[in-house]
């Protein structure tokens, strides 16, 4: 199959009367990293929630050439979609290892051992903390656990919502390094970030959202050089520079 792994056409989603996402069309090619950048409240998180099925939406949603608009979250997970939400949504009173094991819930027992091995190889810190309760982890470790839990389901498309939010610069660098490695391992990635500089650096293609709409899109390297983007999102000093 050579078509895009994810294709959105005119997707809209609203809270009560406020339309948080309006007529968004977006394409993500297999094995690529696409980033959606934009200010707080631009509708980026709502867009991810709509793709995952957490938030109901109108418009066409195709994943792996199949219409997924009518599927429940669980079925979308089964199809290979996985979201690492901004709030991580970990099982805070359970151990790191149990969190990871539950990540492979759809795959059953056989996939657990292999998945754990891979995740621990990618995140050695989680191996050290495997018996620790998830709620006691540091911010960076939580993000690693959330990503590790998502990887346990062997997703074809991993959606990351603000993976660098609230993390120290050194850890942000690690997280972006892992995102690049995941792409090399064949995982397609949809990355939502406020840290536009880092996101554009790793992404192949980028969309800019403002007030619920896509206002610009193009190759990430082109957008990184675009004066409008530099002024609005990158800034001169680069406050969130990585």
């Amino acid at each position: 199959m050579s078509g895009p792994i994810l294709e959105l056409k005119n997707v809209s989603a609203s809270y009560e009367k406020v339309e948080a996402v309006r007529n968004v069309s977006l394409q993500l090619d297999r094995g690529s990293i696409v980033t959606v950048i934009g200010a707080n409240g631009a509708g980026k998180t709502t867009l991810l929630n709509a793709i995952m099925g957490v938030k109901s939406a109108s418009g066409s949603l195709r994943f792996k050439d199949e219409d997924i608009a009518a599927l429940e979250i669980e079925a979308r997970v089964g199809a290979g979609l996985c979201l690492v939400p901004e709030k991580r949504e970990l099982f805070s009173t359970m151990s790191v290892e149990d969190n990871l094991r539950l990540g492979a819930y759809r795959l059953g027992g056989g996939a657990v051992a292999e998945g754990l091995q891979q995740v621990f190889r990618r995140f050695p810190r989680l191996l050290e903390r495997r018996a620790q309760v998830a709620g006691t982890l540091s911010g960076g470790e939580r993000q690693m656990l959330a990503m590790g839990r998502a990887l346990m389901s062997k997703p074809a498309l991993l959606m990351l919502d603000e993976p660098s939010l609230g993390l120290a610069p050194r850890i942000v660098k690690d997280i972006f390094q892992i995102i690049v490695e995941l792409r090399q391992a064949g995982v397609s990635i949809l990355l939502v970030e406020q840290n536009a500089r880092a996101a554009l650096h790793v992404a192949d293609y980028a969309y800019v959202m403002e007030l619920g709409e896509v206002t610009m899109h193009g190759r990430a390297s082109d957008l990184a050089a675009d004066p409008r983007i530099i002024e609005s999102y990158l800034g001169l000093g680069g406050r969130h520079d990585t």
């Binding site: 995952m52 957490v54 009518a70 429940e72 979250i73 669980e74 997970v77 089964g78 996985c82 979201l83 939400p85 949504e89 970990l90 099982f91 805070s92 009173t93 359970m94 149990d98 094991r101 539950l102 990540g103 819930y105 759809r106 027992g109 839990r149 998502a150 346990m152 389901s153």
Partner: protein
Amino acid sequence: MNSTIALFLLQDGVINGAIYALLGVTLVLIFAVTRVIFVPQGEFAAWGALTLASLESGATPGTALLLVVLGVSAAVVETIRERASMRPARLGVMAVRDVAMPIALLLIVSTIAPTKPALWLSVLLTLALVVPLGPLVYRLAFQPIADATVLTLFIAAIGVHFAMIGLGLIFFGAEGFRNEPFIAGVFPLGPLMFKGQSLVILAATAALLAALWFFFEHSMLGKALRATAINRLGARLVGIPTRATGRIAFALAAAIGALSGTLIGSLTTISYDSGFIISLKGFVAAIAAGLASYPVTVVAAIGVGVLESFAAFFASAYKEVIVFSLIIPLLIWRSLVTAHHDEEEE
């Protein structure tokens, strides 16, 4: 009061407390997984005891017919509700699980019942009849409003309680029954006399609590239920079907309820409306544990049982008043020690 009486009361209290512990733990379990404060938990216990009593007397228990009625209702209601997205496979599943199996069970039970089956077989049949009622009650009453507030779910639970009392009256009649004990006879131990049934209750409660602990700590399904309770969105994001977890929780609740019913049936007379007062005592224990901790629930339930038995000795007319009054200081204590937060946050 001398020490013999005190020991006797203590024994009595611990045994009743064991039953309250089972019901209380079930309330905590259901609340954790589905956020429903399941008022009618005791009805499962009453139905279990009454089903066993019918089988012992050689009659076909009312639950057999009730299962068919609820099964067909659930299938019809869900077919109408999901008519837009209904697939043939799902219709097939419902036809077998909700219509064919209950009818088959009804036929089997009505054939076996007149032969007055052995006790172990009667208990198994009782479980086979009552356990499926749990998920059916969940599907009919709670699944469509699974995302509603705790208060809405609580009000629905009260409605279900009245409905179940009414159904119990229709299917079992107003008469009260007493079961035969699992183990007849009395065993002396020092100054104490243990009824065989008391020992069965203690052993069964310990075994059930151990099994529950193992299930939640060591099985994937148990962990998935816990995960759903801890973080519903997180659970959905890893692909745990949270609707199915609700049904499983209710099946467990019906199983524990039915078993506790068969256990207490020989100690006290059970009629269609006896369940409420029993589960309310489990509820007192569950409240003491903040509807959150299983071990605290067990300890509190035994405390409730002991308090009740001593209250019965000193002021028997007030024994229920004393037990239920306990809930007020408990609530005050809990509201002082726990931080306040909005009930609706997930």
